[in-house]
C-alpha cells in the first residue's frame, strides 16, 4: 500500500503522526464518557428516588426492538473490527464492503429506533409532547421517559456522525488507500466501538429494569 509520505511539520515520521491521532481519539472518548456520565448520574438519582416508576416505565419499552438493536450494533462493530484487521492494498474492496455492511447495520438501527419512537408516541409516552399516564407512578414513569428520549436521541446523533465517518472512510479506502487511512480507520473504529459500548449501558438501564419479576 502507498505509504502516505506527507506528514505535517510538527511530526517526525508517519508513525509519529498516526500515534498522535490515535491518542487524540482516546482523549476525545474520555470527554464523551463524562458527557454520558452526567446523564447516567441523573438516571441513577431518579431511579433511586422512584424505583417503581422506573420499573414500570421500563416495562413499557419495546424489549424486542431493543434486543434486536443490540445484536445489530454488536455485529456492525464486529464488521468494523474486521475491516481494521485486514485493511491493506490488496483487500481494499473487502474493507470497503465490510464498512458498507457496518453502515447498513447502523442505518437499520436508526430505522428500528424510529419505529420504536413512533410506538411510544402512539402510546402517549412522550413527555412534553404527548404524555398521558396517570396514577401514583406517573412522575417516575415520566422521568424515566425523559431519560429514555434524551439518552437515545444523543446516542442516535452519535451513530449518525459515526455512519458519516465510516462512509467517508469506506470511499477513501476503496479508491486511494494509503497508510494514512489506516490511522483514520483505526480512530473511527475506536469511536464506533465506543458508541456501541454506550448502547450496551443504555440497553441494560432502559430495557431491563422491572422485567425480572413476574
Amino acid at each position: 500500500m502507498r505509504d502516505s509520505p506527507a506528514f505535517a511539520r510538527q511530526f517526525t515520521s508517519v508513525s509519529h503522526r498516526d500515534e498522535s491521532a490515535e491518542l487524540g481519539m482516546w482523549v476525545f472518548i474520555a470527554t464523551e464518557v463524562l458527557l454520558f456520565g452526567g446523564l447516567l448520574l441523573a438516571y441513577f438519582v431518579y431511579r433511586h428516588a422512584y424505583p417503581q416508576g422506573f420499573a414500570t416505565g421500563s416495562r413499557h419499552t419495546e424489549i424486542v426492538i431493543g434486543t434486536a438493536n443490540t445484536a445489530i450494533l454488536l455485529t456492525s462493530s464486529f464488521l468494523v473490527a474486521w475491516a481494521v484487521e485486514i485493511f491493506s492494498a490488496e483487500t481494499r474492496r473487502l474493507t470497503a464492503g465490510l464498512l458498507a455492511g457496518a453502515i447498513c447495520l447502523g442505518l437499520a438501527f436508526i430505522v428500528l429506533k424510529g419505529i420504536e419512537y413512533h410506538g411510544e408516541y402512539e402510546e402517549h409516552l412522550v413527555p412534553g409532547i404527548d404524555f398521558r399516564f396517570t396514577g401514583s407512578l406517573a412522575n417516575g414513569v415520566q422521568l424515566f421517559f425523559i431519560f429514555y428520549f434524551i439518552a437515545t436521541a444523543i446516542h442516535a446523533l452519535h451513530m449518525i456522525i459515526g455512519i458519516g465517518l465510516l462512509a467517508v472512510l469506506a470511499l477513501l479506502c476503496r479508491n486511494a488507500p494509503s497508510t494514512r487511512h489506516r490511522a483514520g480507520l483505526h480512530s473511527a473504529a475506536l469511536y464506533w466501538h465506543f458508541v456501541d459500548i454506550v448502547w450496551i449501558f443504555l440497553f441494560a438501564l432502559i430495557y431491563l429494569p422491572g422485567r425480572s419479576i413476574t
Binding site: 452526567g38 446523564l39 412534553g128
Partner: protein, 535 residues
C-alpha cells in the same frame, strides 16, 4: 529591511483567517478576547455606577439582573477560561517544548471558529434582550420562570465548550507527543505542567456542563424535564451537575495563571523555582482534587450534614497544593537577584492577591461561617481576588513577559510599571471593601441597599474607576510599541527557556534547527546568567 518571520510571512487576510500556525491563531484569540474583556468590563462599569448610591437610579431591577448575568457569562466563558490557554498557551507551548506546531493545527483553527460562533450566539442573546438568571443558570428559575433569552445564551456557552474541549485535547496530545528530544517530563517548564493539568480539566469537566445545558434546553423547550419539581424532578440536581463542572472550572481559571507566575518569578529572581517537583505535582493534585469539592457551593441548600462535612474537609485539602505553590514561589524569591521589571510586579501582585483569595476561600469552606457569608459580597470579593487579582494579573504579567517574543517589539517599561501598580491599587480599592460589605451582610446581586452600606460601595466604585483606567493603559502603550517600539532581541530577559532561543518574532516554523534539550529548566549560573535548556 525586516527578516522573514511568522508575522511578515504573508499579509493577506486569508493568511490570517485560514492560518494553521499556532502563533497566528494565538493572535486571533488575543484580539477576540480583548474585545470580550471590554464588553464584560462595560457591564461591570455600569453595575459599579449603579451601586454608588443606595437607590436605583441608573437601571431597573430587570436590567440590573441582565447586567450581572452578562458580565458573569462573558467574563467566565469568553474571557477567563480561554484567556491564558488560548492566547499565551497557544503561542508559547510549542515554542517552549521545541515543537513546530501543536499536534492538530487545523483543530486549533477550528476551535477559534467554534469559539467565535459561541461568542456571537451569546452576544446575540444579550442584544436581543439579555438573560437574567445569573451566570449559574439556576433551576427552576432558568427552566420554568425566566422570560429572558436563556436558551440562546445556553447554546452560546454550549458551543464555546467544544472549543475548550478541542483546545484541551490538542494540548494533551501535544505535550505527550511533541516534546523536543531530551525534553523529559521533569525538564518541562512548569507552565507546561499547569497547562497540562488545565487541559485534563477542560476535557473531563466541560462535557458535564454540556449535558447539563442540554437538559436545561430540553426542559425549556418541551416544558418538562429532569429539574422540574412539578413532576418530582429535583432542581438541586442541576446545582450538583453545574458545580461538578464549575468548581473544576475555577481551577481552569487559575492553574494557567499559576503556570505563568513560575516563569516570571524564576526569571526575575534569576533562580531555579524552589521545589520544582512539588509545584509540578501540585498542579495535577489540584486538577484531581478539584473534582471532589463542588458541594461547598451548596452548604445552604439542605444537602445532608455529612455531605457538607465531607465537602468542607475536601475544600481544605484542595487548598494544600495551592499553598505549596505560594510557599515555593516565596522561597524562590529568597536570596534571588531580584529585578522589578513590569512582569515581576504583576507576579508579586499575583502572589499577594491570590493568597487573600485563597484564604478567604477557606473561610467560606467552614460550614459555620459560610451560612452567614453565602450569597453575600464576601463571596464576590473572594472569587474576584482569585479570578481578577490572580488570573487577570497573571495574564497581564505573561503578556508583558512574552510581548517581545510575540511582537518583536519592546514596550515602554515606565508605562508598564505604572499600569501594574495602578492595577494593584485599583483592584484592592475595588474589592477589599466588598469583604467588609459581605461580612456586614450585604447580599450579592441586588442594586438597592440600605444607606449604611454606601461608604464601602462608594470606595468600591471609586476603585473600579482606577481599575478601569489602568486596564485601558496597556491598550495604548502596548499598541504603540507594535508600531514604534524598539526592536526586541531574541532573549531580552536573558531567560533559559527554549522559547527564548529562537528569534523574536519567531520564524514560521519556530526553530531553524530542531533544539535538543540537555538541561532542567530555570538554570542560572552563579553570576545569574541564564543557562539555555538546549545549550
Amino acid at each position: 529591511m525586516t527578516e522573514r518571520n511568522y508575522l511578515t510571512a504573508d499579509y493577506t487576510l486569508r493568511s490570517w483567517f485560514f492560518t494553521t500556525d499556532h502563533k497566528r491563531i494565538a493572535i486571533l484569540y488575543f484580539a477576540s478576547l480583548t474585545m470580550f474583556f471590554f464588553i464584560g468590563g462595560a457591564a461591570a462599569t455600569a453595575m459599579r455606577i449603579e451601586l454608588a448610591t443606595p437607590q436605583a437610579d441608573l437601571v431597573s431591577d430587570d436590567i440590573y439582573n441582565r447586567l450581572f448575568t452578562m458580565h458573569g457569562i462573558i467574563m467566565v466563558w469568553f474571557f477567563l477560561i480561554p484567556s491564558i490557554p488560548n492566547t499565551l498557551g497557544n503561542f508559547i507551548v510549542p515554542l517552549m517544548i521545541g515543537a513546530r506546531d501543536l499536534a492538530f493545527p487545523r483543530l486549533n483553527l477550528l476551535s477559534w471558529y467554534v469559539f467565535m460562533l459561541g461568542g456571537s450566539v451569546t452576544l446575540f442573546a444579550i442584544l436581543a434582550g439579555g438573560i437574567d438568571t445569573g451566570w449559574t443558570f439556576y433551576t427552576p428559575f432558568s427552566t420554568l420562570y425566566s422570560n429572558s433569552y436563556v436558551m440562546v445564551a445556553a447554546a452560546g456557552v454550549f458551543i464555546a465548550g467544544f472549543s475548550s474541549i478541542l483546545t484541551g485535547l490538542n494540548f494533551i496530545v501535544t505535550i505527550h507527543r511533541l516534546r523536543a528530544p531530551g525534553l523529559t517530563w521533569y525538564r518541562l517548564p512548569l507552565f507546561i505542567w499547569s497547562l497540562y493539568a488545565t487541559s485534563v480539566i477542560l476535557v473531563l469537566a466541560t462535557p458535564v456542563l454540556a449535558i447539563t445545558l442540554v437538559l436545561i434546553a430540553v426542559e425549556r423547550f418541551f416544558g418538562v424535564g429532569f429539574f422540574d419539581p412539578r413532576i418530582g424532578g429535583d432542581p438541586l440536581l442541576f446545582q450538583h451537575l453545574f458545580w461538578f463542572y464549575s468548581h473544576p472550572a475555577v481551577y481552569i481559571m487559575i492553574l494557567p495563571g499559576m503556570g505563568v507566575i513560575n516563569e516570571l518569578i524564576s526569571c526575575f529572581s534569576r533562580k531555579q523555582v524552589f521545589g520544582y517537583k512539588f509545584v509540578a505535582w501540585a498542579s495535577l493534585a489540584i486538577a484531581a482534587l478539584g473534582f471532589l469539592v463542588w458541594g461547598h457551593h451548596m452548604f445552604v441548600t439542605g444537602q445532608s450534614l455529612l455531605a457538607s462535612l465531607v465537602f468542607s474537609f475536601m475544600s481544605f485539602v484542595v487548598a494544600v497544593p495551592s499553598a505549596i505553590k505560594v510557599f515555593n514561589w516565596t522561597a524562590t524569591l529568597h536570596k534571588g537577584s531580584l529585578r522589578f521589571d513590569a512582569p515581576m510586579l504583576y507576579a508579586l501582585a499575583f502572589i499577594g492577591l491570590f493568597t487573600i483569595g485563597g484564604l478567604t476561600g477557606l473561610f467560606l469552606a467552614c460550614l459555620a461561617f459560610d451560612v452567614h457569608a453565602t450569597d453575600t459580597y464576601f463571596v464576590v470579593a473572594h472569587f474576584h481576588y482569585i479570578m481578577v487579582g490572580g488570573m487577570v494579573t497573571a495574564y497581564f504579567g505573561g503578556l508583558h513577559y512574552w510581548w517581545p517574543k510575540i511582537t518583536g517589539r519592546l514596550y515602554s517599561e515606565y508605562w508598564a510599571r505604572a499600569a501594574a501598580i495602578l492595577i494593584f491599587l485599583g483592584f484592592n480599592l475595588t474589592f477589599f471593601p466588598q469583604f467588609v460589605l459581605g461580612a456586614e451582610g450585604m447580599p450579592r446581586r441586588y442594586h438597592v441597599y440600605p444607606p449604611e452600606f454606601q461608604v464601602w460601595n462608594v470606595l468600591s466604585s471609586g476603585g473600579a474607576t482606577i481599575l478601569a483606567a489602568a486596564y485601558l493603559l496597556p491598550l495604548f502603550y502596548l499598541g504603540y510599541s507594535v508600531f514604534f517600539g524598539a526592536r526586541a532581541p531574541a532573549n531580552p530577559w536573558d531567560a533559559p527557556g527554549l522559547e527564548w532561543q529562537t528569534s523574536s518574532p519567531p520564524p514560521e516554523h519556530n526553530f531553524d534547527v530542531q533544539p535538543v534539550v540537555t538541561r532542567a529548566p530555570y538554570q542560572y549560573s552563579r553570576k545569574f546568567e541564564a543557562q539555555p535548556q538546549n545549550a
